[in-house]
């Protein structure tokens, strides 16, 4: 069964010019998002997970050099005109961020902010968009939506603001919703609520969701597939159970093994440090920290290859023992 691909990112590169020289934050990323799925994108700070999607959204500053391709519903987004991107954003592709307060306008009522998004892409009267805004607030689980629509962002708690931002993002029923660390700033009990809202939206509207996070627990809970990033590259992708049960890439293994679990056994950190992206290591960027590194790992940049039910960028993936992390 081939699922429809709603977003296809191919060979994406993003380079920033810094006083210390060019910094390639994204170095040839391929990501496919299937219709209606929840794709988790994990990686540590500096892995390029946010930058890849900011580039796709056309939200990077002009000094960033972006090459490659991102095709959404048949349309190329990389290099598209600002006018076209304004039309795409909010209608086909939406993005929400970690801090909901900075995404909302403090001097406008919540209902008006949702209405504005509706009317910028649909031919609606104020009355119609106002009514729809209240419905959207209800969908994201805000009690007394008609009253709340007349309030301002400061009258909402952190969790409620994130719900409002989700309501704005889904107002025009986009094909893909990108959620960049949407629960990182929230308390765990509120995080659970927001994840539930995202799942509900995904199920109700068939929206594909890309959830960018560093929290493997969150991924384990909601994702259908996972894409693991390291040093501006994909290192592994596949169905959630496969990636967590028998990861093929030593970095994924290392990440999973470093997490504290029930019981007092000693934690296993990944040795060394994340690479300096001004001078990334030759070949596989993970090789200086990898216990399985061999001469071949210092050669060419490894590409994703099929290894059983996963795609792995480890050239030694087939030789390595496929041990489970959960014994």
């Amino acid at each position: 069964m081939m699922a429809e691909k709603v977003l296809q990112i191919r060979d994406l590169h993003v380079t920033f010019d810094t006083p210390l020289g060019p910094l390639e934050a994204v170095r040839g990323v391929d990501i496919e998002v299937e219709a209606g799925e929840l794709l988790g994108v994990v990686g540590e700070s500096g892995s390029g997970k946010s930058v890849s999607f900011l580039a796709t959204m056309g939200l990077l500053p002009t000094r960033a050099r972006v090459t490659g391709s991102a095709i959404l519903a048949g349309e190329e987004l990389i290099g598209a005109s600002p006018k076209k991107m304004r039309d795409v954003r909010g209608r086909l592709l939406s993005m929400i961020f970690q801090d909901p307060l900075s995404a909302l306008n403090p001097v406008h009522r919540i209902g008006d902010q949702i209405s504005e998004m509706l009317r910028s892409h649909q031919d609606l009267t104020h009355r119609e968009s106002g009514k729809r805004a209240i419905e959207l607030l209800d969908i994201v689980g805000i009690p007394q939506p008609a009253d709340r629509a007349r309030q301002y962002p400061h009258e909402f708690s952190g969790g409620m603001r994130q719900r409002v931002v989700i309501a704005i993002a889904i107002a025009n029923n986009p094909k893909v919703l990108i959620a960049d660390e949407p629960t990182t700033a929230l308390d765990v009990t509120v995080q659970a609520q927001i994840l539930e809202v995202i799942e509900r939206v995904q199920a109700r509207f068939g929206t594909a969701v890309v959830l960018i996070t560093h929290d493997l627990g969150v991924i384990a809970r909601v994702a259908d597939r996972v894409n693991v990033m390291y040093a501006g590259r994909n290192v592994e992708q596949g169905p959630i159970n496969s990636v967590f049960d028998h990861p093929s890439h030593p970095y994924t293994r290392g990440l999973l093994a470093s997490l504290p679990r029930a019981g007092k056994q000693r934690l296993k950190p990944i040795t060394g440090f994340p690479p300096n992206m001004l001078q990334p290591p030759r070949g596989c960027a993970f090789h200086p920290r990898c216990e399985f590194a061999a001469e071949i790992c210092r050669g060419d940049l490894p590409e994703l290859r099929q290894v059983d039910d996963l795609q792995s960028a480890c050239v030694r993936a087939k030789e390595l023992p496929r041990i489970g992390i959960f014994v």
Partner: protein, 324 residues
Amino acid sequence: MTTQLLKVTNLVKNFELRLNNGARRRKRIVQAVTNVSFAVEKGQTLGLVGESGSGKTTVGRCILRLIEPTSGTVEFEGEDLGSLKFEEMRALRRKMQIVFQDPFASLDPKMTVGASISEPLTVQNVPGDHTDKVIELLELVGLAADHAQRYPHEFSGGQRQRIGVARALALNPALIVLDEPVSALDVSIQAGVVNLFEDLQQRLGMSYIFIAHDLSVIRHIADRVAVMYLGKIVEIGDQQDVYEKPSHPYTKALLSAVPVPDPKSERARQRIMLEGDVPSPVNPPSGCRFRTRCWKAQDVCAQEEPVLLQRASGQFSACHFPET
């Protein structure tokens, strides 16, 4: 038999909030910490968990008197800290140190790492040349001797946190308050720093108060765990008891909200979904502060404030309708 190092009794910290609301000026009190009591044994780790606004950081700072408690006592090795004069307190701080969350903000960017680490020795008038001590400390936390001449910006987050730990260790403290010491670090780096804390405790025998919102880290490192909600301890007990048979509904809900990195068990889990957010500490709910979000709440919860009662050996919870 272990012995008590620190005893906190009925600790209260209120912050005054001055609101300028047009013509009216109102004074409001934020009850950050209300009647918190606990003890820390020598060589043990007490984990302090809670969501934002629960008062866990304020407790840590009151213990060191970095902020003055409104009332209550803090006894360290049997001595009441509240009765000490400024100079006496300063001398005692040798034995009590703190490591902060943000390794980028807690080091002076213009001081070499060596100078930062030896500063506590200078402040406390430890005689002699500190070079050897600095090298010893750097090696103790897994850094190299030649790092002493470098500046904080040359280090990664995990390394900076190690520098902060080396500085806290300089005076051989008996107690270190670790305030979210690994929250700012990437997971792969976090594990190494947690291991470092464990190794140091084993070698040097100090006690920790480990403040964190990450329940899985606390589970790993703590001997005893205190769960805070809106300025109060709602449950305290041995790590295993609190995690395996939580007594307070809030503890149970909190544990069930934490996603575990295992898709199969994560999806099979029964989850308690709490409604709403934590109420404001300016105007906390009457009676039990958790009652507004609790599925077990009855009238009595609004009227009577529950007290911490022993539910099992060493496990206390403050609830009218405890789980166990």
